[in-house]
């Protein structure tokens, strides 16, 4: 076949030769004429460095720093840069044993001769300062600064939370923010306010030489993005009160929750036994965490939020409120208590006996018979066609007081407590298999009922406020801002007439004046409260006390639970009253010093 385009035979050949020549010329300029590149490669190579912002600090309500940042140093090694290593000298300088150094160093060599590996972790600033002076004698080793959390007051560990390395799940949920090895707040304020506290990571482009040493910034930092430091936050905690409470609770298992009723601000939240928050920072974090996790007393368990206790008699004020509102009783409802409540074969014992003239006195003496009667009248009342309807109404009304539901506190993992409903009983007994007698123990806060200490304190706040409560919270605002955080000013109105609240308050005042909790009297301050002694299957009764004070203008509402310590008046009431006194008066009056002494020294844990 004839080639019509013989003239084009060599075109491709010329194009190819032309391109190759251009390439060679270009290479000539790149590799021989232009010396910049050789210089750049020798000394300067770009590296992207993540700049971690300083995590936000946290202050207490009086401006005291409760979460701080502290510098710490890690020692790294690049094995192929190590020359003439004086092992003994290095171990002495850093304070490592010869064997552990050998082990980590061998591991580093095995990992990579060119990439840095960690040799020693979490050296304090002082320690590193002394090491740094002589570090130049050991080429290949260098220090890197890191900040860790520090807790000046060593208390409130459960409220504050801690920092841990992100796990795979958190990386996936983080929307691309977290990389493996980053840190994230876990538990407490650190977790709830992670976004505010962490700030925004920045990026720096630095020139490094082939030995990974920094040579300066690239293009005068034109492409760098600055890290945005995390916001400082103001907590509602009173760290002095918190520390005082932890001292009182020492040697006991239980919880204390103190709320400022008018704002819903948590003044103190104690979970006992507690732990030193510094244990979960720094180099021994993992080891300490394991010890705490395996402790049979469960110091990591956040009891005020998670533990649901049978409220016992502390729940009677709530029942009185709902009973009054529904019309099952009124102020003047009486009950002749023979020392126990009898119905059919059932007998509910009572600590007192005698005629109960009204609901306030019933609360004062914590009359079991009166409240069994009240509960049955409530759920069997006319508007309800069945007892089931009555129970459901009861549960619904309790929810308006924050019981059986989450209060919405700004801390992770809050529990619901527990309140049963008709469905629950239908399932157990069958729809027709139960009546108000079956469930009469609900009248005295026993049986299928659980409240968290936070819920107990919150009910007191609602009563102190005559019918409303704010969502409890531990963070008030961002430090430099004037306005409170939006989520802290959510108000809940309780649909119960304020006159009923006044009747219940009268009863609560009588309890401390001349009832079951005279031990809670504070000279010069009128306290209102209610004891509870919760029977439980785990051993001796839980001692519970809920209170608020001063009665004319409540500034603190409190709930104290001391597990397995008997009557409410034995441990819970003294501790609560001491907390109140400390918070309101700042000192403990002389006649009550012995009480303080006794609480601080008594140990219930073997």
């Amino acid at each position: 076949m004839t080639d019509l385009y013989q003239s084009r035979r060599n075109v491709l050949q010329y194009v190819i030769i032309g391109v190759i020549v251009i390439f060679i010329v270009r290479l000539f300029f790149l590799q021989i004429v232009n010396k910049d590149y050789q210089q750049l490669a020798k000394s300067n190579v770009l590296r992207e460095v993540t700049v971690f912002p300083a995590r936000g600090l946290v202050f207490d309500r009086n401006g005291k720093l409760i979460i701080d940042n502290q510098k710490e140093y890690d020692l790294w090694v690049v094995p192929n840069q190590v020359k003439d290593l004086d092992t003994a000298g290095f171990c002495e300088l850093v304070g490592m044993s010869d064997t552990s150094f050998r082990r980590t160093f061998d591991k580093a060599v095995k990992y990579s001769r060119f990439k840095p590996s960690l040799i020693a972790k979490g050296l304090s600033v002082d320690k590193y300062a002394s090491i740094q002076e002589e570090l130049y004698l050991f080429p290949g080793f260098y220090g890197q600064v890191r900040t860790v959390r520090a807790y000046p007051f060593k208390s409130a560990a459960h409220v504050l939370g801690y920092i841990s390395e992100v796990n795979q799940k958190q990386i996936e949920r983080g929307g691309g923010y977290y990389k493996s090895g980053d840190y994230i707040g876990t538990g407490g304020i650190e977790q709830s306010y992670e976004k505010e506290l962490r700030g925004i990571k920045g990026t720096r482009f630095v020139l490094v030489d082939v030995h990974n040493r920094e040579q300066g910034s690239f293009n005068d930092g034109r492409f760098d993005t600055a890290a945005v430091p995390g916001s400082n936050m103001v907590s509602s905690l009173d760290i002095e009160l918190q520390g005082y409470g932890e001292k009182l609770m020492k040697g006991k298992i239980g919880s204390v929750v103190a709320i400022e009723p008018k704002t819903g601000e948590i003044l103190s939240m104690i979970s006992s036994p507690t732990y030193d928050p510094d244990l979960l920072t720094g180099q021994d974090r993992a080891k300490n965490f394991k010890v705490l996790l395996n402790d049979s007393l469960k110091p990591l368990f956040v009891r005020p939020l998670k533990a649901a206790y049978p409220p016992g008699s502390t729940y009677k004020p709530s029942l009185a409120l709902v009973g009054l509102q529904e019309g099952a009783i009124d102020y003047n409802t009486t009950y002749p208590c023979p020392g126990a409540y009898y119905v059919g074969p059932l007998r509910v014992g009572c600590h007192h006996s005698g005629f109960v003239p009204n609901v306030a006195v019933a609360i004062q003496f914590s009359c079991n018979s009166y409240f069994c009667n009240t509960f049955r009248r409530l759920v069997d009342d006319k508007p309800f066609k069945t007892v089931g309807e009555g129970v459901d109404y009861w549960k619904k009304m309790m929810a308006t007081l924050g019981l059986g539901v989450k209060t919405g506190i700004d801390l992770p993992n809050e529990g619901y407590g527990y309140l049963p409903d008709s469905k629950y009983y239908n399932k157990i007994y069958g729809p027709k298999g139960w009546n108000s007698v079956t469930i009469v123990s609900l009248g005295i806060g026993q049986g299928e009922i659980g409240e968290t200490p936070l819920q107990m304190a919150n009910v007191m706040a609602a009563i102190a406020n005559n019918g409303y409560w704010y969502t409890p919270h531990v963070i008030r605002k961002v430090a430099d801002s004037d306005s409170l955080l939006k989520q802290t000013i959510v108000k809940h109105e309780v649909p119960i007439d304020s006159s009923y609240f006044r009747m219940v308050r009268e009863g609560l005042e009588r309890v401390v004046e001349a009832g079951t909790a005279t031990v809670a009297q504070i000279p010069g301050t009128k306290v209102a409260g209610k004891t509870g002694t919760a029977q439980n299957p785990h051993g001796e009764d839980h001692s519970i006390f809920v209170a608020y004070a001063p009665v004319d203008d409540p500034k603190i509402a409190i709930a104290v639970v001391v597990e397995n310590s008997g009557f409410g008046s034995r441990f819970a009431a003294p501790i609560a009253s001491l907390m109140i006194e400390k918070y309101l008066n700042d000192t403990i009056s002389a006649p009550r010093k012995y009480l303080e002494e006794r609480m601080m020294t008594s140990t219930l844990i073997q």
């Binding site: 385009y5 590149y37 490669a41």
Partner: protein, 422 residues
């Protein structure tokens, strides 16, 4: 014609091509070794590392090449279209059963073995084009012929583009050079160059300047050609087309190209300095090559390799390793090896008696040329960052095998050049 009835497999084999081929593969293996060297696994045969696997690919390639030499060259002329259709089906199948790798969905996984059909599309398309252009009634003056020829490689190119592999798509443009050789008017090439130039200009300069310049040039051309009505008409039409094109380019650029592709173009045009992405790669690549100097740093002494400063070091940026470790003389030698290879292929093309073989040979030269042009051009900052392998050098089985098939079919056709007249 009766030369011999029984032919040996190595009969008429062009040993120069084979030697060049093996030399390039060995250079590639050494370069992959240096680029991914890990001193805890210093054996070049270690199958955990890419250099060990590359060795397997090379062995496979040699077997594959030997197998092709054992076949009859008539097979390729007879089944050119069949192979072409098969590859088209494979390309289409990728949409259904393909797996994504590096963001481009163009792999087929068969067990643990992964295949990239777009690599094999090259030789199959080349065969089909050779078959078509060697037809007795082919006349490139015929518009229909032109369009069928364009369609033959346009279709696989489109399928590859839809898979997101812009680099491989670009390689299909190499067939323009083949068509040009066999009669496609030069205006097609000029038009292509003009369109590319206009695209670049409209991305770099303000549209106002370009329109002004176009008006001035058109007025000048109309003035010069005022006697010929046709010329005036063509100029006016070209002017309108250009204006329209300029105004749609930006739109196409923004809407059709992916973000990373836009970045690569912008970096090349000097509009964008993004230290993290495309510019970073080119910058590191240039530093690595530039730092090689005249004699290079020596085998395994390339420091930039060791810290992964250059991305995709063993695949798309393999040329850096050679530039850094062997310097100017090494990289020039490699380019000269390629030059020799391509010129040898063109020489072979011109000694064929069969038109089929000639066209096929031109295709092979053009494909290799485009790969070298884009790949090396990218590493030395003359081309945008487009991820395509350097023939016979880059790490990877699909690419190595497809180039082996491409080349050995040529060697087989050439070996039989005296035996059969097609």
């Amino acid at each position: 014609m009766s030369y011999q009835t029984i032919r040996k497999p190595n009969q008429g084999v062009d040993w120069m091509l084979i030697i060049l081929y093996i030399t390039l593969m060995l250079i590639g293996w050494m370069a992959v070794f240096a680029a991914t060297y890990d001193d805890t696994q210093p054996s070049i045969f270690d199958l955990d590392k890419s250099y060990g696997r590359q060795f397997l690919w090379i062995l496979g390639s040699l077997l594959l090449g030997g197998a092709i030499l054992l076949t009859d060259s008539k097979f390729y002329t007879t089944f050119a279209y069949g192979l072409y259709v098969l590859v088209l089906l494979m390309l289409a199948a990728v949409f259904v059963i393909g797996t994504a790798k590096h963001g481009d969905k163009n792999w087929i996984a068969i067990g643990s073995f992964q295949l990239q059909p777009s690599e094999f599309a090259k030789f199959a398309t080349n065969l089909a084009l050779a078959k078509f252009l060697s037809g007795l009634t082919i006349n490139m003056k015929d518009l229909k012929t032109r369009f069928i020829a364009l369609g033959l490689f346009g279709l696989p190119a489109l399928l590859v583009l839809l898979q997101g592999d812009a680099g491989s798509t670009l390689v299909f443009l190499a067939f323009f050079l083949v068509l040009f050789r066999f009669g496609l008017p030069g205006s097609y090439l000029l038009l292509g160059v003009y369109v590319i130039a206009l695209s670049v200009l409209s991305l770099v300069f303000d549209k106002l300047y370009i329109v002004t310049a176009l008006i001035l040039i058109s007025v000048l051309l109309i003035y010069l050609g005022r006697r010929s009505r046709t010329q005036v008409f063509i100029v006016v039409a070209a002017f309108l087309f250009s204006i329209g094109y300029v105004f749609t380019t930006g739109y196409v650029f923004d809407k059709v190209l992916e973000k990373h592709q836009q970045d690569r173009v912008k970096v090349l045009l000097g509009q964008k300095v993004d230290v993290k992405d495309a510019d970073y790669n080119v910058r590191q690549s240039k530093i690595a090559i530039g730092s090689g100097g005249l004699w290079g740093k020596g085998f395994l002494k390339g420091t930039l390799t060791k810290y992964n400063f250059v991305p995709e070091q063993s695949t798309d940026f393999i040329f850096c390793t050679i530039g850094e470790e062997y310097g100017f003389w090494g990289s020039t030698l490699l380019l000269l090896l390629y030059l020799t290879l391509m010129l040898r292929i063109l020489f072979i093309a011109n000694r064929q008696r069969s038109r089929f073989s000639t066209v096929y040979a031109y295709g092979v030269a053009a494909i290799i040329f485009f790969h070298v042009l884009i790949n090396v051009g990218m590493t030395i900052g003359l081309m945008p960052v487009i991820g395509i392998p350097l023939p016979f050098i880059s790490y990877g089985g699909s690419s190595l095998w497809s180039f082996t098939i491409l080349l050995f079919i040529l060697i087989k056709l050439d070996g039989d050049r005296l035996a059969i007249l097609r």
